[in-house]
């Protein structure tokens, strides 16, 4: 009875959120630096438009960007949600663990080496994120178990060490650092190629689906590791799987979009306020909510100062910090 009710709730929730995602996405396709009428946008989407320029703008510029924003938003929000549960720390987010610094270092090293290597910079960013993740994970493990406090500290220290390395390499770098700095400090969704999107989409969806499989275990683990173990959860296995999956999500997001702050931190909190902390409902809420919020933020970034653009990270931080403070005061009071 209870299970059935939950299932139905989840289904309704997912449907409603997906529908709003689609609406937001279509809205995002309709606005931008150049004014297009709704008919033009619709015609371009269906491929029946006679206006080649409108078709190029909608299909080649806006559509990949909206899809990328949705994927990155979902990835970061889900990674933040599970990391907060895993570490039982409300401040945990994908960037605290140094993963994004690792990605930035990988990218910048690739640019430093130059030549053909530089062309593979997103791959290097991904590798950098994975290496950092492995390193932090190794540091955070004690006696076969993940210690959340140790892991957080290891992440923070690693992040600051990697930032220092990045600054060092930047002084050696010459010109490509323009992208390096602008991109890695504030995030940018304008540059993902079709090939990257085709790789990213199934990977993000698969990783989120895999994490959903651990939703129940995460619920139990919120009670505490020992309680979870008593209730038959293989805590060490869940920890490893969840950590690896969330790190993969973060690495993928960061390597194509740079560091976009506040999503991984804030979306889980808002999600928990809306639907509670049952991960079976929270995870889809976070995924779709994160997607929606980043699509909205990027739409603002594209339109507010049109024909120029803002870095999307500036928008998420401008909106995210006040919301976080509001939540903080509400919870404290």
């Amino acid at each position: 009875m209870k299970v059935a009710a939950t299932r139905r709730n989840v289904l309704v929730l997912v449907l409603v959120l997906s529908a709003s995602c689609v609406v937001v996405g279509l809205g995002a396709l309709a606005v931008g630096g150049v004014h297009l009428t709704l008919e033009e946008v619709w015609a371009a989407l269906r491929g029946t438009g006679s206006n080649a320029e409108a078709s190029a703008i909608v299909r080649d510029i806006r559509l990949p960007r909206v899809v990328l924003a949705a994927l990155v938003g979902a990835a970061l929000a889900v990674a933040g949600t599970v990391l907060q549960a895993l570490l039982r720390n409300p401040l945990a987010d994908p960037y605290v663990l140094g993963i994004s610094s690792g990605a930035a270092l990988g990218d910048i090293v690739a640019l430093w080496v130059g030549g053909r290597i530089a062309a593979a910079a997103p791959g290097f960013a991904f590798a950098g994120a994975l290496l950092t993740m492995t390193w932090v994970y190794a540091l955070g493990r004690r006696g076969g178990r993940l210690k959340s406090f140790t892991l957080l500290l290891a992440g923070v220290v690693t992040a600051s060490f990697l930032s220092a390395l990045i600054l060092f390499v930047l002084t050696l770098l010459s010109t490509r650092d323009v992208r390096g700095v602008a991109f890695w400090l504030m995030g940018d969704l304008s540059a993902a190629t079709g090939a990257e999107l085709r790789l990213l989409a199934p990977a993000v969806v698969l990783a989120i689906a895999a994490l959903y499989w651990f939703a129940k275990d995460l619920n139990v683990m919120l009670l505490g590791d020992d309680e979870a173990a008593h209730l038959g959860v293989n805590v060490a296995r869940v920890e490893t799987a969840v950590f690896v999956l969330s790190s993969l999500l973060t690495a993928m997001a960061v390597s194509v979009s740079g560091a976009i702050g506040y999503l991984g931190l804030l979306v889980p909190h808002v999600g928990r306020m809306l639907v509670g902390s049952d991960h079976r409902t929270l995870l889809p809420t976070a995924a779709l909510g994160g997607a929606m919020i980043l699509v909205l933020s990027d739409t603002l970034a594209r339109t507010v100062v049109a024909p120029s653009e803002l870095p999307v990270g500036a928008v998420t931080a401008l909106a995210g910090a006040p919301v976080f403070i509001y939540l903080l005061r509400r919870t404290a009071g």
């Binding site: 931008g32 150049v34 304008s190 540059a191 049109a306 024909p307």
Partner: protein, 354 residues
């Protein structure tokens, strides 16, 4: 007691006193291009340049032997590389500058930081600052440097030669239809040159019109769809080995392949002199004019000695990424040169300060 104290310290006081009097005799107070008051020596003999464009101008005025120090990025003319370096443009070493005992330091407000000027002033070294937003500013800076460096005749002659070349270019392109030009400072994210930059001015005077002329700020970002909408006929990249992407890089990016200029292969790398407000900015003007108006500029290179490099530097990207040399190609310039340019530095500094 009091008297003996003065006596005892008199030698120590005498030296700075004499220096003060002496420098007072030899100096005049002027206002530089940035509006700062400068205690200018009448015949400066030991110069330190804090920007490649200033180094170039000093050499162009025939005063290279008075230059006692320049920056790591000063590599034109090649002799400039042999001078003692004081560090980079944004963060020159104050100690190295002081150790070179300059009687005048020259800086530029679009590249150097105001803190550097303040520090130098505090240690008593006069610094004369230039500003350059247009080609005419650059001509004025050359004349100014001539006055400041006591080389007015050379500056006049140089200014006349440059003016003649500019006038010839303008005469040739006058009346021709103006192609729309997108100048790509950086392509990912697309960053371009705003209205009040000498780049925009050069494009205009070379008979083109910059599509980013209405944007605020010197180096604004332009959304790709706005670029598509403005439909530039020609896309220009500043030269330098690692500055310009390959055509393959560009085609990989979403949206770029829809640009008419990309479809028609009208992407050019112009000499990096377009990012230096020095006498070579006129070279850049001639190159841009030749790219935008090949018919009107026909035969021009043969007449002007300085412009022989044209065929090398207006390097069409499609040539560079032909079947044999995919992706990777080289110009002879040191890629580090671009860093010193105000363009990247400003951007870099702004971003890093966030």
């Amino acid at each position: 007691m009091r008297r003996s104290l003065v006596c005892r310290y008199f030698p120590f006081l005498a030296v700075p006193l004499c220096l003060c009097v002496a420098s007072g005799l030899r100096a005049r107070v002027v206002t530089d291009e940035t509006g700062r008051r400068v205690n200018l020596p009448d015949h400066p003999q030991r110069l330190v340049s804090l920007a490649p464009s200033i180094t170039e101008t000093i050499y162009a005025l025939g005063l290279g032997d008075r230059l006692v120090g320049d920056t790591d990025y000063c590599d034109y003319p090649p002799e400039a590389k042999l001078k003692p370096h004081v560090g980079n443009v944004l963060n020159p070493s104050l100690e190295k500058i002081v150790a070179l005992k300059p009687d005048l330091v020259l800086g530029i407000s679009e590249g150097n930081r105001i803190e550097t000027a303040d520090q130098l002033q505090r240690v008593g070294i006069p610094i004369y600052g230039l500003t350059d937003h247009t080609l005419d500013d650059t001509l004025r800076s050359i004349a100014d440097l001539g006055r400041v460096l006591d080389a007015e005749a050379a500056a006049d002659a140089l200014g006349q030669r440059l003016r003649a070349r500019i006038a010839e270019v303008e005469r040739r392109v006058a009346g021709a239809p103006r192609p729309k030009v997108l100048f790509v400072v950086w392509y990912q994210p697309l960053t371009t040159a705003g209205a009040h930059t000498f780049i925009s001015d050069v494009i205009h005077r070379a008979g083109g019109v910059s599509v980013s002329d209405d944007l605020p700020g010197d180096w604004p970002r332009l959304s790709l769809e706005a670029a598509l909408d403005r439909n530039p006929d020609v896309i220009l990249f500043p030269g330098g080995e690692s500055m310009a992407p390959s055509l393959n890089d560009i085609r990989r990016l979403p949206g770029w392949r829809d640009l008419a200029a990309v479809k028609h292969d009208r992407l050019y790398v112009v000499s990096e002199s377009i990012i230096h407000p020095s006498p070579r900015l006129v070279d850049a003007l001639e190159q841009v004019a030749a790219v935008l108006h090949p018919d009107q500029m026909k035969g021009y290179t043969a007449r002007i000695d300085d412009c022989r490099k044209l065929s090398v530097v207006s390097y069409q990207l499609s040539v560079a990424v032909g079947p044999r040399t995919t992706g990777n190609w080289q110009l002879t310039t040191d890629n580090r040169r671009f860093l010193q340019s105000s363009i990247v530095n400003r951007q870099f500094f702004f971003q890093a300060g966030q």
